[in-house]
């Protein structure tokens, strides 16, 4: 299978002010490597603050990476070693993003037609007048809205419909790759499945590739071909979805899976839980060695000293853990 995106040793640090003349850096994404095949959905799960959104945005170069290498469809679009940093404008047409909170990401003073059409006027200047309007209507139609909606403002829509507008906006320039950044977490339970199904249909129809970011592993498992698990800025495990959920290798993935309550009273009460102690440490000064060692039930001396290596332990099943290295 062809790889659409390759990411190697991607880092993103944010410089923050700690006091007068005192600065620190938040290591939001620390040494992440992975690739995405053409036409697949790669899911990314992790708790809040683990850097999943930052990673998605850095990948699109909405944030400039601190270091690393990003390759899109064979061409490097960023490489800190070779000092490559291509202008992104032509790539914006190919790579798009759907944001988490539709009520915050849609401009309240623009009509839905203007929102969907804005990207078109930049990337498709050849479309004029009637053609332009038709294209907008076609886009609204694809996401289950109709042409009447083009003249309304975002506040006139429900949460689910607003998210549909966000999706229409991303689709307008006919991208190949979409980063879906928690597209359904702001929606009601009964609306979530509508949007998930629509994203799946659009992928089939338009041969899209998704990077699907969410904190809810049940949703990610449903939509993704492969899943990557992040903890405190690092990728700890990556595997095919079913394999990841049935045979997790990393202790963090195990605890994450065991913490999810199932909508099945007998099963969920019978489930053995691996409850983690404490909270996620601050990314301002992350723990030494393996970043998970402060909460890991199996941590040893070694874990606190040396960072584990990101390795392929089974075909297509990557993880980073000392306990696995020994085996």
């Amino acid at each position: 299978m062809k790889k659409l995106i390759e990411v190697e040793h991607l880092r993103k640090y944010f410089r923050i002010k700690l006091g007068t003349l005192k600065y620190g850096s938040i290591q939001a994404v620390e040494d992440v490597s992975f690739f995405i095949y053409v036409g697949e959905t790669l899911g990314i799960v992790g708790e809040s603050g683990c850097g999943k959104t930052t990673m998605g945005r850095t990948l699109l170069r909405l944030y400039n990476p601190t270091s690393g290498r990003i390759v899109y469809d064979g061409t490097p679009i960023y490489d800190s070693e070779k000092k490559i940093s291509v202008p992104m404008l032509p790539y914006r047409k190919k790579m798009q993003i759907i944001f988490q909170d539709p009520s915050a990401s849609l401009d309240p003073r623009m009509t839905v037609g203007e929102i969907v059409g804005e990207a078109l006027s930049v990337h498709r200047p050849d479309l004029k007048g009637k053609e332009y309007r038709e294209r907008i209507n076609e886009m609204l139609d694809t996401v289950g809205l109709n042409s009447e909606h083009a003249n309304r403002f975002p506040h006139e829509f429900s949460g689910g419909q607003q998210q549909r507008v966000g999706i229409a906006r991303a689709l307008a320039v006919e991208p190949e790759f979409i980063v879906c950044d928690e597209p359904i977490s702001a929606l009601d339970v009964s609306i979530q499945s509508q949007v998930v199904n629509m994203l799946e249909d659009l992928q089939q129809e338009k041969h899209l590739t998704y990077l699907f970011i969410a904190h809810d592993i049940s949703v990610v498992r449903h939509i993704s071909n492969r899943i990557g698990v992040m903890y405190l800025g690092q990728m700890v495990e990556l595997a095919e979805s079913y394999e990841l959920c049935s045979q997790p290798m990393h202790p963090y993935t195990k605890s994450l899976l065991s913490a999810v309550p199932l909508p099945d009273p007998q099963k969920t009460r019978a489930k053995k839980r691996l409850i983690l102690e404490g909270d996620v440490p601050s990314p301002l000064n992350p723990p030494t060695g393996c970043r998970f060692h402060t909460r890991c039930p199996y941590a040893t001396e070694e874990c606190s000293q040396r960072a584990p290596v990101w390795k392929e332990y089974a075909p297509g099943h990557f993880a980073a853990c000392h306990a696995l290295e020994g085996k």
Partner: protein, 334 residues
């Protein structure tokens, strides 16, 4: 409490918000009973009235919201008829509440210890400061906060999200209430922290034997912690029963739809989700008949015209409000 009196009895409770755009019937005639030591889950989407219902029990309803009908009896006493003085007495000592977002509920300029002690000192006039301090430390230890004495001196911003929610729970339980209302206590938390908090709540419930009303939209959490479940939609309870009946033998099309539409981690194959079509109800212009009718795939003619009656559909007070049950009963009778 006499034997024939129920612990908590809510009858035909109606709450409306009188807004500029018109009357919003947030809670439109709901009834249920809660027994002692019972954990009742109230599930529903945003705007279904689940929080408003709880707020009106504890008397925290704010303008323009008003209780316009029905009764709430707690151990035989009519809670809605209480004076302000009696309400203060009732809150804290008998009923207590945990809110969704602990950061907005804790006062940022007082220490955690101060806020914990305040709760106790306000409600019990004969407690000394020393005794209140000891009790606060004891509560923090109960909810699993280490170094409790040091933590007493800290401010809310020095606590992490999970710890703040633990502190909120400690504060709610410091006067040993008989009923705890938990309004989405784990929604703002991460799954691993959610698991910690649920474990803690189950543990405390076993130890103290208090009743809990657990409000949430997460069916997984309900399956985990509740004995009984009420499913709410647009201000109505559409189905009610024990947790096994609701999850394994749902009768109302909305409950069925909700359960079907959820992705799960424990299935083998990648199945397509079956969503509930349509959009949530606009409470300013609610449908004339059954509120769920416009989205219901089994909708009958009568559903659009008249509200369905709440009927007994199974053992153990399993009830559901749907015209289909009336139809089934008629067919069975013939």
């Amino acid at each position: 409490m006499k034997n024939n009196e129920k612990f908590l009895e809510v009858r035909d409770l109606r709450v409306s918000f009188f807004t500029h755009a018109g009357e919003v019937k947030a809670v439109d005639g709901i009834s249920y009973d809660l027994g002692e030591h019972e954990v009742m889950g109230i599930v529903g989407e945003s705007g279904s009235g689940k929080s408003v219902e709880a707020y009106s029990i504890i008397g925290l309803l704010q303008n323009p919201g008003r209780v316009i009908g029905g009764s709430v009896k707690f151990m035989g006493e009519d809670v809605l008829a209480y004076s302000e003085e009696q309400k203060r007495e009732f809150r804290g000592n008998k009923v207590s509440m945990i809110f969704q977002n602990p950061m907005t509920c804790l006062n940022p300029v007082y220490t955690i210890g101060n806020q914990l002690m305040e709760a106790l000192l306000c409600h019990n006039k004969d407690v000394t400061r020393k005794a209140a301090y000891d009790r606060a430390v004891e509560m923090l230890e109960l909810v699993g906060i280490n170094n409790a004495r040091k933590r007493m001196k800290q401010y809310p911003h020095e606590f992490s999200g999970g710890m703040r929610q633990r502190a909120m729970i400690a504060m709610a339980l410091i006067c040993s209430p008989k009923l705890l209302i938990a309004d989405e206590p784990t929604t703002a938390l991460d799954v691993t922290i959610q698991a910690q908090i649920l474990e803690l709540m189950k543990d405390i419930q076993r130890k103290t034997g208090m009743s809990i009303i657990f409000i949430t939209h997460n069916l997984g959490v309900v399956a985990e912690i509740c004995d009984r479940v009420s499913v709410m939609y647009a201000g109505h309870i559409v189905e009610q029963g024990n947790v096994n009946d609701i999850f394994y033998r749902p009768k109302h099309p909305y409950t069925e739809g909700l359960l079907r539409s959820m992705p799960r981690v424990d299935t083998k194959e990648r199945e397509r989700l079956i969503p509930i079509e349509g959009t949530p109800v606009d409470l300013l212009n609610p449908p004339k008949g059954c509120p769920f009718a416009p989205r219901c795939e089994k909708c009958l003619k009568v559903c659009l015209e008249h509200k369905p009656p709440f009927l007994q559909v199974g053992e153990d007070a399993h009830g559901s409000a749907c015209w289909l049950h009336v139809k089934e009963m008629k067919e069975a009778g013939e």
